[in-house]
């Protein structure tokens, strides 16, 4: 008898019926579901023993203390210490080594060769975007050892302020409640002072201030001078109210508040002479404003260091080789400002950075650096400390191979002896015998005189903090501050005034929670316009548009904000947009 197809079907049907009573189909279904829960797209967190390590955050000069929760060697969460919380950027600092825009390769030998073959008569300068560190002293010593060497700071080092003692704070656009200075000390002192915020746009600080003066953009100097005249008991110039857009009674009232409800403090986003004059008139110096002091420095360094020159005071077209330390960028000078100081033919620009977003777009060479929390560096004196401090950002993870340490590179270029500068500095502090060192693991503060140097150095490497003692002994050195001028005013016929909000760079992709996944902050690359202004430009909320200035145009996205003043465009500026806008720019917004 032959096997027919029907036989096969009968057998198959029997198998199918039987199979249903076996685990096979059910296991296949559940296992596939289980597989989908763990398919390669879903990462599995690493397990391991949990350790706690301490360091200081190096994302901005506040240098808040950090307690890192580590699984094995890897930090998985950063928190502040009790009473010293971290800001949103500091909370995700541990992501930065894996930032998608991170650069780890650079043409090190070629850059060194290009610098060695420079024109010996042209000046060579280091632009230190975070002055006040021990690395800054290394640069100053290197530039003193090289002919035509210059050490440049981006702007004048502003004095230290003491918010805790202030009763009235007059702020010209300083983002007090958005990560200015040391956030923890601002919040701690907030209940005790009255905040008058002078700002053209409704920033969160303006929204929460006790009084917001929505000044016309660009007229802050006029207002400061007017208040100064009132403080000198002179008459208020009649045109100030029209120029600034603030009613006369309000200007008079503010002047009375700062004069009578003292101690007063005047701060600004960018220092300008008229506001320093106000502090002088109000007697803030010594009460709420102090010279910025840094920790003791080895004697040999001070003897052989180039002076601090502010970038603005360098002669135009004079720098042949510019080395920019962008590894910890506190300030970004727009490229047009930088370019003006370079020689017109064949300038050489080498930037030390961890991402291409900044000067990497303009420099001939980009040399990769370590990024927080890989770096070993000290922190500059904080804005909120009248006493000198010294803290190390101790590394939590090792940097990748191939990165450059900028002060080592510059020291080698200048043929300085390569000594462990941070340890030498700690030695000088220990020798001076003043101040206390605080450690976080046990919460103790011990006078430096009672600690041996090795223990002091270990404490610093575990995120400890040295604070100078107050008192009549010879104070710690004052940082050279440099000169400053009134902010420039651009003359052009473009209709809108630009107000830029700089976005701290780099930041973890998780900050998308604030930018993009919510509307809490203006995302980098977005502009904010008043509804009427937007209508005149022909754009709607969320539309793609082009921002045009005298330097070019860039693609942006529009947000409509009814709190914005008409005729002003607020730009959340990446370095590329800061280049486009320059200082105090005017712009046009067009539909695309």
């Amino acid at each position: 008898m032959q096997t027919t197809r029907r036989d096969l079907f009968k057998f198959a049907a029997g198998s199918a019926a039987g199979l249903v009573f076996t685990p096979v189909p059910w296991r296949l279904i559940t296992d596939t579901a289980l597989w989908s829960e763990n398919w390669p797209g879903i990462p599995r967190p690493a397990r391991g023993e949990i350790h706690t390590r301490f360091t200081n955050c190096a994302l901005c000069p506040a240098g808040c203390a950090v307690r890192a929760r580590c699984v094995g060697p890897q930090p998985v969460a950063l928190t502040g210490l009790p009473g010293q919380p971290l800001c949103a950027f500091g909370l995700v600092g541990h992501h930065l080594p894996y930032h998608p825009g991170r650069v780890t390769q650079g043409a090190l030998e070629q850059a060194a060769a290009a610098i060695a073959h420079r024109d010996p008569k042209a000046s060579i300068a280091v632009l230190d975007l975070r002055p006040g560190r021990t690395a800054s002293w290394t640069y100053r010593r290197a530039m003193a050892a090289i002919p035509h060497g210059l050490y440049l700071a981006p702007k004048r080092i502003s004095p230290a302020v003491n918010l805790a003692d202030a009763k009235t704070v007059l702020s010209f656009g300083a983002p007090l409640l958005e990560g200015w200075g040391t956030p923890a000390s601002v919040f701690a002192a907030r209940e005790r002072f009255r905040l008058v915020q002078v700002e053209p746009v409704p920033s969160p600080t303006a929204a929460l201030a006790d009084l917001w003066l929505p000044i016309r953009a660009g007229s802050e100097t006029a207002l400061a001078r007017a208040i100064a005249q009132l403080l000198r008991k002179q008459a208020l110039p009649p045109e100030v109210a029209a120029l600034t857009g603030i009613p006369e009674e309000q200007i008079v009232s503010v002047a009375r508040q700062v004069a009578e409800n003292g101690p007063a403090l005047v701060v600004a986003a960018e220092e300008f002479p008229a506001m320093s004059e106000l502090n002088r008139l109000l007697g803030s110096l010594g009460r709420t404003v102090f010279p910025r002091r840094e920790a003791p420095v080895p004697e040999s360094w001070t003897r052989a260091a180039a002076p601090v020159t502010t970038f603005a005071s360098v002669a135009d077209h004079s720098i042949g080789v510019l080395l920019i330390d962008e590894s910890a960028p506190d300030t970004y000078l727009p490229w047009s400002v930088v370019q003006k100081k370079l020689v017109p033919y064949d300038p050489l620009v080498v930037t030390f950075a961890s991402s291409r977003a900044g000067y990497g777009r303009h420099a001939q060479y980009l040399l990769p650096t370590a990024v927080y929390p890989e770096i070993t560096s000290d922190l500059p004196p904080a804005l909120h400390s009248a006493a000198a401090t010294f803290r190390l950002a101790a590394p939590l993870v090792a940097p990748p191979a191939g990165v450059v340490d900028p002060p080592t590179f510059v020291a080698r270029m200048a043929r300085l002896p390569l000594t462990p500068a941070l340890r030498e500095r700690a030695g000088a502090i220990h020798q001076a015998g003043r101040g206390t060192v605080s450690t976080w693991r046990d919460g103790k503060s011990v006078p430096v005189r009672q600690v041996k140097f090795d223990d002091f150095w270990s404490a610093l490497n575990e995120g400890g903090c040295w604070i100078d003692s107050q008192g009549p002994q010879a104070p710690a050195p004052q940082m050279e501050s440099g000169s400053f001028a009134d902010p420039p005013v651009e003359q052009s016929s473009l209709p809108l005034v630009v107000v830029t909000t700089a976005v701290p760079q780099p930041f973890s992709p998780l900050l998308s929670k604030l930018y993009g996944e919510s509307n809490l902050r203006l995302s980098p690359g977005r502009i904010a316009l008043h509804p009427e202004t937007a209508r005149q430009c022909g754009v709607t909320d969320g539309a793609r548009a082009a921002l045009e200035t005298i330097r070019g145009r860039a693609a942006v996205q529009v947000s409509i904000d009814s709190g914005m003043p008409p005729g002003v465009v607020r730009v959340a500026a990446t370095p590329a947009l800061l280049d486009l806008c320059g200082p105090s720019a005017r712009a046009k917004v067009v539909r695309v």
Binding site: S36, E37, W39, G41, I42, P43, R44, P45, A46, R47, G48, V71, Q74, V76, A77, L78, T79, G80, P85, L86, C87, A88, L91, V92, H94, H95, Y98, H99, P100, L177, E178, G179, P183, A184, F187, R190, P202, P204, A207, L208, L211, W212, L213, P214, S508, P509, L510, L511, S512, K513, L514, G516, E517, S518, N519, L520, R521, D561, S562, G563
Partner: protein, 247 residues
């Protein structure tokens, strides 16, 4: 039994967003992919900015953090879930979302009156290497499931483990703090056991001017808000239309 809740002082919130970021770090919430706006983002806690509708110097703003309100009475999401993927935990009062049971129908997202539930439209993607920074105490979710604030119950687990190591059944109250509470620099968000009359949220809830969001729906939320500013209280209960909310 404990009934964990929060009190949020709106007058102290500065809109810094540290709570939003700390929440994402603790709970392994991935960064947004391209094209995720505020409608498709995942922000278990989200800070909104509200203002009183005036212009210029008279404009007043406030920041309001909104997270899962942990409704206690006829919890809307619990009552609609076809999978029983969300339950009010009897031991803590936390409305516990179980992404592993969720089938992604999003009925709960429609039911939630506070829009506090978020859907994983995409598989989580971290930049290469960044997955090393994930928190082992919280399981990452795949795409197609809903997730929401669970009051950082991973930290509750850790507090219980620490107590068990010392042979204690009760946790030390100060040992368990959600990430947002720990990160808030002004102490605007406070956390504690509402069943304990002496705890901070219980005391704040009894204060004058304390309110809850959408009180009239009767969901008995465990998040109590407080503000001394009348216009803020007014927005929370009955927005008149002039006030604007953004965020």
């Amino acid at each position: 039994m404990t009934r964990y809740g929060m009190s949020i002082d709106i007058d102290r919130c500065t809109g810094c967003g540290a709570c939003m970021v700390a929440c994402a770090v603790e709970n392994n919430i991935p960064p947004a992919p391209e094209g995720a706006g505020d409608r498709k983002g995942i922000t278990w806690i989200r800070v909104f900015q509200v203002n009183n509708g005036e212009d210029g110097s008279n404009r007043k703003s406030a920041f309001v953090p909104v997270l899962c309100q942990q409704c206690g009475h006829e919890t809307p999401c619990v009552s609609v879930c076809p999978q029983q993927a969300v339950r009010v935990d009897p031991q803590t009062g936390i409305v516990g979302q179980m992404p592993e049971r969720c089938l992604g129908c999003r009925y709960c997202m429609a039911a939630c009156p506070y829009h506090a539930r978020y859907f994983n439209w995409w598989d989580p993607v971290w930049p290469p290497g960044m997955e090393k920074t994930l928190n082992p105490a919280v399981a990452p979710r795949m795409r197609g499931v809903v997730e929401k604030c669970n009051f950082c119950h991973g930290r509750w687990h850790a507090a219980k483990e620490r107590a068990a190591a010392q042979n204690r059944r009760e946790i030390d109250p100060g040992d368990y703090l959600p990430a947002c509470v720990e990160a808030c620099p002004t102490g605007a968000i406070r956390f504690g056991d509402l069943n304990d009359r002496a705890s901070v949220p219980a005391r704040d809830a009894r204060q004058d001017g304390s309110f809850r969001l959408l009180e009239k729906l009767g969901t008995d939320p465990k998040i109590h808000y407080h503000s001394r500013q009348g216009w803020v209280r007014q927005i929370a209960s009955a927005p008149s239309g002039k006030e604007k909310a953004r965020g």
